[in-house]
Symmetry: C2
Subunit: 200 residues, 2 copies
DNA sequence: TAGATTTCTTAATCTAGATCAATTGTTATC
DNA sequence: GATAACAATTGATCTAGATTAAGAAATCTA
């Protein structure tokens, strides 16, 4: 039960839960330890699960026709992650989901989620609220892609994912920012150079 | 009551509603006719309402420090629109919301929405599902900004908003795509030029 | 229907970031 | 601890799209 503590406390931030309800919820969940660089979802497959990140870091990414990876989102502790279109419509996923470091995740299958919505309707409140916040975060990201330069987007990334930059390879950050690793490298050293100047 | 028909039918696609519930819902809504270029929300104010577009077209946009407008989303018939962060947290909005053409909208205030969630809990299902789809759409847009060129993004825009391009000025489309009006103009004529070649 | 305002186009020049290619660091693996 | 595989840097060149500036169309509005 300890493994589900963090998720349950996240639920209880939004609504009270009885001991029975908690037990019911946990009975529908799968806890998993996954090591670095394991693929949880691949394009072509169906996203049968939505994934709660209990520890570690995952990412969702897309590979375009030229074979270039584009990271749409990182999932760190407390994040829910899935190819939502595939999960909702049981159609083919277009995104990969992969661990970036050794991670612990909690899986909730589409069917189990549907059952839980039936049995504990107030879970709709929880997911409604989760999605509200996801929408808000995605709006920020869209805005950032629309009107910020790569260096500003990097600063926003640092805000959004504190300390993550030291945990993951920088070509992944580049793929999240939408620049090449080469450009990111140059940009980073330029920013470090300019920083002392700004401080003066 | 006729004015709310489309919204109610949209609700009923997701769940059955009794006559009483429908009446209750309608009693919490405000129907409004607004003419072109009216501003419904401004940065600095709080987004007290979420807006259902019954007819016409609105857009949400941001103005950056240089005074350049960036359109994050268009709202056409059936869309819900608000500065979600401001609406949820009653904090200052950062986005404008404005009509692009004469429009009819339905306003639902934050307080009334909360009341309705209390009185008709299954509305949580509706909004949960609406937000799921919004998240999916925003994922698409993020991906598009990350890995498509402006001309490809334009084609995606046409798919996403059929016929809208003929209804709105093209500098608005440019601001949605994230390019200057000048570049958009040139790109468009280049695309028209290249089209016949592709057909051969 | 004329003038004013807004929108769109075209051209010249400029820049953020891409691409290609080579080099150096850093991690894994046997 | 040597070799291979992967990650990061650096430099030269190229391009999508920005900027500035001007004029042409289209639209309002009186």
């Amino acid at each position: 039960m300890k493994e589900f503590e963090y998720l349950l406390s996240s639920l209880e931030k939004h609504m009270p839960l009885t001991a029975y309800e908690k037990k019911l919820i946990v009975s529908k969940l799968i806890y998993k330890h996954i090591s670095k660089r394991e693929i949880l979802l691949k394009p072509g497959n169906v996203a049968n699960y939505t994934i709660f990140v209990n520890n570690g870091c995952l990412r969702q990414y897309f590979i375009n026709v030229e074979g270039v990876e584009h990271t749409t989102v990182f999932g760190v502790r407390g994040y829910w992650l899935t190819d939502i279109n595939s999960f909702l419509n049981k159609c083919e996923a277009k995104f990969y989901i992969e661990t970036v470091e050794d991670s612990e995740v909690i899986l909730l299958s589409n069917d189990n989620q549907a059952e839980l919505f039936e049995l504990i309707p107030k879970l709709n409140i929880y997911f409604r609220m989760i999605y509200e916040r996801v929408v808000s975060a995605k709006d920020e990201r869209i805005l950032s892609m629309l009107c910020s330069r790569a260096d500003e987007r990097f600063l926003q990334f640092l805000q959004c994912y504190p300390n993550l930059d030291s945990r993951i390879p920088q070509y992944l950050i580049a793929s999240y920012l939408g620049v090449t690793p080469e450009f990111f490298s140059r940009m980073k050293s330029k920013m470090a150079q300019d920083l002392p100047k700004n401080k003066k």
